[in-house]
Amino acid sequence: MSGWVGAAVRRSEDARLLAGRGTYVADMAGRDTLHAAFVRSDRPHARITVDAREARAAAGVVAVHTGADLAGRVGPIPMLTKPDPDFTAATGFTMVDPALPCLATDRVRYVGEPVAVVVAGSRHAAEDAAELVDVAYDPLEPVLDAASALAAPPLHPHLDANLAAEITCAFGDVAAGHAGAAVTIEQTYRMGRHGGVPLECRGVLARTVGGRLEVWTSSQIPHQVRTAICAATGWDADSVRVAVPDVGGGFGTKANVYGEEIVIAYVAHELGRGVLWAEDRAEHLVSGAQGRDQTHRARLSVDADGRVLAWEDDFLIDLGAGSLWAAGIIANTAIHLAGPYRIPAFRAHGRAAFTNKTIVAQYRGAGRPEACFALERSLDLAARELGIDPVEIRRRNVLTAADLPYALPLPYRDGVPISYDGGDFAACLDAAVELVPEAEVARLRAAHPGLAVGAGVACYVEATGRGPFESGRVRLTPGGGFAVAAGSASAGQGHETTLAQVAADALGVRPDEVAVRVGDTDAVREGVGTFASRSAVLAGNAVHEAAGRLAEEARVRAAGMLGVDAEKVEPGPGGFAIAGTETGVTWAEVAAEGPLDEVVLFRPPTVTWTMGAHVAVVGVDAETGVTGVLAYGVAHEGGVEINPMIVEGQVRGGVAQGIGGALLEEYAYDQDGQPASTTFAAYLLPGASEVPDVAVTHRMAWTDRNPLNVRGVGESGTIAVYPAVAAAVDAALGTTVTTTPITPRDLVQARRVPSAGYAPVAAGGCA
């Protein structure tokens, strides 16, 4: 039996989730569980002294810890990524460690930073007592944008400056390219600060079980949370189990290690009791990791036909008080600026800076949407200047089947020279245009006479399936069933279903015979996690190989049980049979001879690339400036789809988040550094009326970079939305959108001063 990979099988997760019987971390509290509340900074930048005496004496309080209490016991949050030395050498990459404390000690650096933790018998008691913790603030000048941060005194006194990371990726003669140009577009682009905003906030439950500490956390990367807890406390890795229950969305915000996770683990260990912290939305909007917040100063030169001669971009990232993912974000941005085009000369220079805003993590795309926005918008402006259709200028530059595979004279982040292993990017662009043809745009224009209607297109390229490895474990259980584990946790992506499909094919069984447990350090000791469009590629292939090995081991054992040579034994009904006969043994009989257990750490040779093209149609109310997305199409070049229903779901969900970021979502700060997006009335999420149906075309392109022939898809839907929507707005109104979110206020203002074009925000410097 085989053929489960590729089938749109129903998700095994759905039954419990639809019955309201999923188990999220906040659902795990028992009668004797203690509850934690964090005291958080209400200033962006200040020296602090903390007096917790009154809180300690309050009714119901079991423990209060300040930063000072943790000194010498709990170290800072360790960085999560170390760049490859070959990549570092080729790009002049540098970065520094902000050494973020789990609880602030003498200084706070953003509103929302945890300052103290209060543990009590109930959530109410903990919150009441948290208000009794007296934090005295001696204000310091807040640094609120990346450009001024570079010149400001260091926010982290152990560092020389606020430069967090720097990178240069370059090839070809950029100056010569500009010199020979028919048109050069110079523009500054800005993508606002927004983020994953999973519907379930963060949460941690830590408890001691049989002398060992168990930490249940709403995370995409439980193995890295374990590593960080152990690094910060000095505990042995085997003394801590970190596991995830059902997780209510992540999108990168939960692909992070938080001080709160380490503090709750420490407090539960100290008390020898279970402690739950369930973050509320007010906390999340100031202390959950945020994303994007980049400014790009870009220069694109093309010849008279619109062919790219030189492409240059100098970008600056606002990392807030710090980011464990600085290396990933800045490198993703720089590399993906090269786009899916023939570009003879390229230079990307990026810097990231610390400011007094909330910490930053990866957010779906993690630098790729920002890079895509700068390049795609520049192509649109060049096309406009030359009088070429936006689709046509892309057709003249996009890589074709004849160009691919296409090598760039740059190493990827893993040190391996970049080679786009795609099939036919030009055909993918054409496929996207076909999804929303001109006749459909005309129909929508006629159907919405009160709106200015326009269409836009944008292409992207994405490196997926990044290493270094992911784990897959397959066990034959005593009754003849199968248990699969992987380091990639699921935050809604459906790993229980897809990994069962993969294992089922390799084992010759049905997916419902395979029980999948992901994201538990006890289920498989090593792991990396779910982010960067990597789980299908990495965990998928790890499980595929582990299941294949187990099947072979079982076949050899079956041959021994049957007293024949192994080559005479083949898979048979419910187990194995001697070829050409009905004599065989079942999986249960094989299992009765003893356990079989295979663990594979799958290490890909390098990333595998996807490409896609998006077409957006928007309608703008010229009076109010409100923009609605009327139609949307995505053509996506990927690999084998393990489950096409889930692949489409990832693309559609990604588009919805891109629409949010393009039109609605922003973590705004006022001039004093106070966050302004502290409720869902201010941080606007797209609802059912803001997200149209998304037409998706999947184009298969084989890759030799992994045995399953899969490519990642988790971020594909998001990357190109911003420029596609911006281009559609420009087509509707004749504006020049350079900034997201594209707000009604900015559009109304742009129309009042049409000769000035559209220049909504003076971009921060990117010298």
Partner: protein, 162 residues
């Protein structure tokens, strides 16, 4: 700081067809009451300020946000949560349509959507996509892009109309 008044009130409420009498703090929210006192953790808290709809439950047949209602306000009322709707089989067709149309990913918003959709369908809602989008506009899903949810509700509405 003043002592927080923790006045106790007795709440008699019918939850998922079962009569419940509990003495609770006056300030206890309905969502916390359902989750912590009754163990009905299918009612999820997504924002606690009435925007996301994840905590929606039916109170006397009308969907309310359990984060904005005090437990005491449910006194004398009838409340249905996702668990009760599931156990009685009232939304079996809707749940099946959600699964077939990939109307859920992480599942956190799902109970709220099921409650809001159940209300729409109970009122005889039409299989009209715009009307469904309007009816569900008080619920946020961060994963799916809504397409599968809308399709599932439309399909169920069509089937119920025969």
């Amino acid at each position: 700081m003043a002592e927080v008044a923790v006045e106790a009130v007795t709440v008699r409420v019918r939850v998922n067809g079962r009569d419940v009498v509990e003495t609770v703090a006056a300030r206890l929210g309905l969502a916390d009451f359902l989750r912590e006192r009754l163990g009905l953790t299918g009612t999820h808290l997504g924002c606690e300020h009435g925007v996301c709809g994840a905590c929606s439950v039916l109170m006397d047949g009308v969907s309310v946000r359990a984060c904005l209602v005090f437990a005491a306000q449910a006194h004398g009322r009838e409340v249905w949560t996702v668990e009760g709707l599931h156990d009685t089989g009232r939304i079996a067709d809707l749940q099946d349509a959600f699964a077939r149309n990939h109307g859920l990913q992480c599942g956190y918003c799902t109970p709220g959507f099921l409650v809001a959709a159940a209300e729409y369908l109970d009122e005889g809602g039409a299989p009209d996509e715009d009307a469904i989008r309007e009816a569900l506009s008080g619920n946020i899903c961060r994963c799916t892009g809504y397409q599968g949810i809308i399709a599932a509700v439309a399909e169920t509405a069509r089937a119920r109309r025969g």
